[in-house]
């Protein structure tokens, strides 16, 4: 479904990603781990087309389409969803209006009629239950005055509304207590179908107890330096990243 080849990307002229290769097939969950500054967020931002990042080399295809040629909103319509690390507050724009605009924009892209207000509100009510999102929250402005946990739950709620085929969870676990983490992860698992694949970016093993990855990648200085199964995450939890760095240093010397 997603194929990244030799991806180089920079921000403000500084190269962050230095030749990423990654293939994610339908239904697979890939975890991406690494220290701060390794390029994890850059990769996720490049995938969703953030204008601040410049792709200098390489390609990304998504279901056979050249992803890099698509605008951010078109990527969204194609089924890519990102749960933001720090969801922005948008005062004055109600969650209802925001979500309706998003859902109907996607329907239009897919050649479907827009939902009526009644249909839309019904769907909204149903999906809210998945992440136990209070109805009060959906009446407020987007993310405004939400706690950290509420913001992350709201992200998963939006995922439920937009039914993506590929989800990026960018440090969705940061700032969450155990209960909130469970609710968010359960929500994600309920939404995941056989077809849905995901890229889960995290520092910690903790989230991976709830969202079981098929593959674990370690990103170091703009490159994927190690790939393994779920056991790799446990090993990192245990030993940190230094041994991987050391391993790589040895390899480079050879």
């Amino acid at each position: 479904m997603l194929e990244i080849k030799n991806l180089h990307a920079s921000i403000n002229g500084k190269e962050i990603l230095k030749g990423i290769n990654l293939t994610i097939n339908d239904g697979e969950i890939h975890a991406l781990m690494g220290q701060n500054g390794a390029g994890k967020s850059t990769l996720s931002n490049v995938l969703v087309g953030h204008p601040a990042y410049e792709v200098t080399q390489g390609s990304i295809t998504f279901n056979g389409k050249d992803l890099l040629a698509l605008k951010p909103e078109e990527r969204s319509h194609e089924g890519i969803f990102m749960s933001f690390q720090a969801p922005v507050e948008i005062p004055g724009v109600s969650m209802v209006n925001f979500m309706r605009a998003a859902v109907n924009a996607k329907r239009k892209y897919l050649g479907k009629e827009p939902l009526t207000a009644g249909e839309f509100l019904k769907i909204m009510r149903e999906k809210r239950k998945i992440v136990e999102l209070d109805s009060k929250l959906s009446n407020r402005s987007v993310n405004e005055g939400f706690s950290g946990g509420e913001k992350k739950r709201n992200e998963i709620f939006q995922m439920a509304m937009l039914e993506p085929t590929f989800a990026i969870l960018d440090e969705t676990d940061s700032g969450l207590d155990v209960d909130a983490l469970r609710i968010v992860a359960d929500g994600f698992n309920k939404l995941k179908t056989e077809k849905t694949s995901a890229l889960v970016i995290t520092h910690y093993q903790r989230l991976l107890d709830y969202i079981k990855p098929d593959f674990v990648h370690v990103l170091l200085d703009g490159n994927i330096v190690k790939t393994g199964g779920p056991e790799l995450a446990l090993e990192i939890e245990d030993r940190g990243f230094d041994w991987i760095k050391a391993e790589r240093a040895v390899k480079n010397e050879e």
């Binding site: 319509h77 922005v88 004055g92 925001f98 402005s141």
Partner: protein, 471 residues
Amino acid sequence: MKSEQQYIELFQQCRQLLSSQSDVVLDALRDEAFRIFKRIGLPDKKAERYKYTDVQEAFSPNYGLNLNRLQFRINPYDVFKCNVPNMSTLLYFIVNDAFHSKEYPNAKPSGGIIISSLNEAAHLYPDLVSKYYGQIVRKAETPSINSEGGQIIDGEFVPLRKNNEPDAITALNTMLVQDGLFIYVPKNTVSDKAIQVVNVLTSTVDLLVNRRVLVVLEEGAKAKLLFCDESMSDVNMLATQVMEVYAGPSSELELYELEETNMKNKRFSNLYVQQHDKSKVTLNSISLHNGLTRNMTYVSLEGEESVINLYGGVIADKEQHVDNHTLVDHKVPKCVSNELFKYVLDDNSVGAFAGRILVRNDAQKTESQETNANLCVTKTAHMFTQPMLEIYADDVKCNHGATVGQLNEAALFYMRQRGISLDEAKLLLKFAFVGEVIDKVDLEPLRDRLHYLVEKRFRGELNKCSGCRLC
């Protein structure tokens, strides 16, 4: 350029005619106003109060005046379709400056409330009208010694700043005015329905209109007023409006103004509000469509524990010009003022906001908050803002803030990630921006209507006024 000359000559020539066409109460103040006007003339751009609007230029063309009170053959009820749905209002029309006498069937105020032509009211209730007519302005323009900064020089108190200079537009309006509107809400009376007044501007020749409004709320009275400016013709119209509002002790007033005119319209509105003990007044003006607009609002807090909320929203594009000038004068202790103005400027439009908060020496325990936020959408749009605090009392809490900026980039991207197109995301953020002012509207149907109109306006579906079919 000395634009005032033609008005001085006009007045001298037509003095008799003006007398013959208006009640003695209105006539009584003309000569004094004329003396003031002759002395100060129309301001040029060097006048601090008018630095952002060229008054000389606006008043220099040769406009006609309907001094002979010819009736415009128009039935506004037939042509006006811009009712606010679901809002049961007492609906009245003012055609140019003349109160339209035909009553809408439902428009029957209750409980001794008077809503009528100002000229007629002056005739029917001379004592009542003369008690207030011109007096709110007079009080506002009388300097009060020792309650603000200054120095004794050669035994004489010289104030630091002339807060109370007479205003030339008000003087001109008082000189030439022949009619307008009178609203009177007696003691402890509550108007159960909102009162909607549509100012219809219509003419076949370029026209100067001088409209006068007097609103009196006696002690404990409550009312909600909605004024809509609509233009129905394609000629140059210059309208001056002086509105005097007396808010008696413990009275409550909500006053909404919605401007939906066209590019050929120039509006100079001076609103004087006088508030007494524990009164609460909310003013909210929305400029949706216009040519050149200059709104001056002077709020005088004369009674303790009064509250004034002063809100404004401006959407301008093309060559439109909107200048809001406000002065909230805290004269007594324990009053609260809240001010919020938001502008969205597109194309070559010009926006100006000058908001002065004056806290006089006696006005301890004043709380005042003023915010002005602006979005410039193009390089050629131009925003001037001047939020001023002038404080002579020490036990006060006053804040003001002003921003000029663009739409939040992070919010735009977030919306695009959710599949909303860039244009649509921008629109949503613009509605939200202006929405903050509209959300201050207490009348729910009006609020909904305004949200709807603003959305249409931003989508470019509101080229002129939305309701009328004439233009």
